[in-house]
């Protein structure tokens, strides 16, 4: 079955095709979300929401990109929205506002289940550093490193040029280097 057929059947509310799409894309959606929100329960919830949106807004899909690219876009947008909402909730607590308490916004240690055992400790530090990157750099880095997406696919997902993706990757690595340098200098010097 080719993409136009799949889209057509999905637009007609074919639940079997929808089930096939969920089965085929669930790992990619969950893994991307997990890389962004760094919490397995939240990632599960967002994954469900992504597929519900895929089902409900398939009529808005114009077919000018691959279905997987469109699903990646929904995933990233949902995960980032969730993050912003969570940050607002953290910063907007009544007590915090009353006492003008500054929130640390320090995320808990996150252990990605797919990281090789020997690298778990280093990956925890890298995930923490990732949170300090600008949004676009972080997304480009996650898609490339965690999802093993090519620069071309990343360009399609983020709707930017190939050159822009390369630039984002270079800046992400440089910024991560600086963040990590600061971290290790503070903790180990």
């Amino acid at each position: 079955m080719n993409q136009p057929d799949i889209i057509e059947r999905l637009k007609n509310g074919d639940r079997n095709v929808f089930s096939e799409i969920v089965e085929a894309c669930k790992d990619m959606v969950f893994n991307t979300t997990l890389g962004i929100v760094q919490n397995e329960e939240d990632a599960e919830d967002i994954t469900q929401e992504v597929f519900i949106q895929v089902y409900e807004s398939i009529n808005q899909f114009r077919g000018d990109a691959k279905l997987s690219t469109w699903i990646y876009r929904i995933t990233i947008s949902k995960a980032l929205d969730f993050e912003k909402k969570k940050r607002r909730q953290k910063n907007g607590g009544l007590l915090k506002r009353i006492f003008n308490e500054k929130s640390e916004d320090e995320p808990a240690h996150f252990n990605h289940p797919g990281i090789v055992l020997d690298e778990k400790e280093n990956a925890v530090v890298l995930f923490k550093a990732l949170n300090k990157l600008p949004e676009k750099q972080r997304i480009a880095f996650i898609l490339h490193k965690l999802e093993a997406q090519s620069y071309q696919e990343i360009a399609a997902v983020m709707k930017i040029s190939l050159m822009a993706v390369e630039s984002l990757q270079v800046r992400a690595k440089n910024n991560l280097r600086n963040i990590l340098k600061e971290y290790y200098e503070q903790h180990f010097k």
Binding site: V22, K26, F30, F51, P113, I115, V116, L146, L180
Partner: protein
């Protein structure tokens, strides 16, 4: 830790995602998605009603309303019950002591 060691450590950390495997969601994801879709379906009025009732604010207000109605009924019952007893007592007293009768014949005719 000197600069050389720090640089090596940073390179190590930056490469820690190498060989990463995709994380997978818990089983029965499709079942959970289908359940949520079913709940959100426009034709499912029971699901909608359930979702509306189970909102904390609606549930709380419902409970409050239930308690208030109960309190009102109980207090009304109390008043009515008190009135009955008073009337009964008056009637009994009237009968007992023949307050409103003129003669013994009236009692017999009652």
């Amino acid at each position: 830790m000197d600069d050389h060691k720090i640089n090596n450590k940073i390179t190590e950390v930056l490469n820690s995602f190498d060989g990463v495997e995709r994380a997978v969601p818990k089983p029965f994801l499709l079942t959970r998605i289908n359940a949520r879709l079913q709940q959100a379906a426009p034709g499912n009025s029971w699901g909608k009603a359930y979702a509306f009732i189970s909102r904390p604010l609606v549930a709380g207000l419902g409970l409050l309303l239930f308690l208030m109605v109960n309190l009102i009924i109980i207090s009304q019952n109390k008043n009515t019950a008190g009135g009955n007893i008073a009337t009964q007592n008056t009637n009994t007293a009237q009968y007992e002591f023949a307050i409103n009768v003129a003669s013994i014949y009236d009692i017999e005719n009652q």
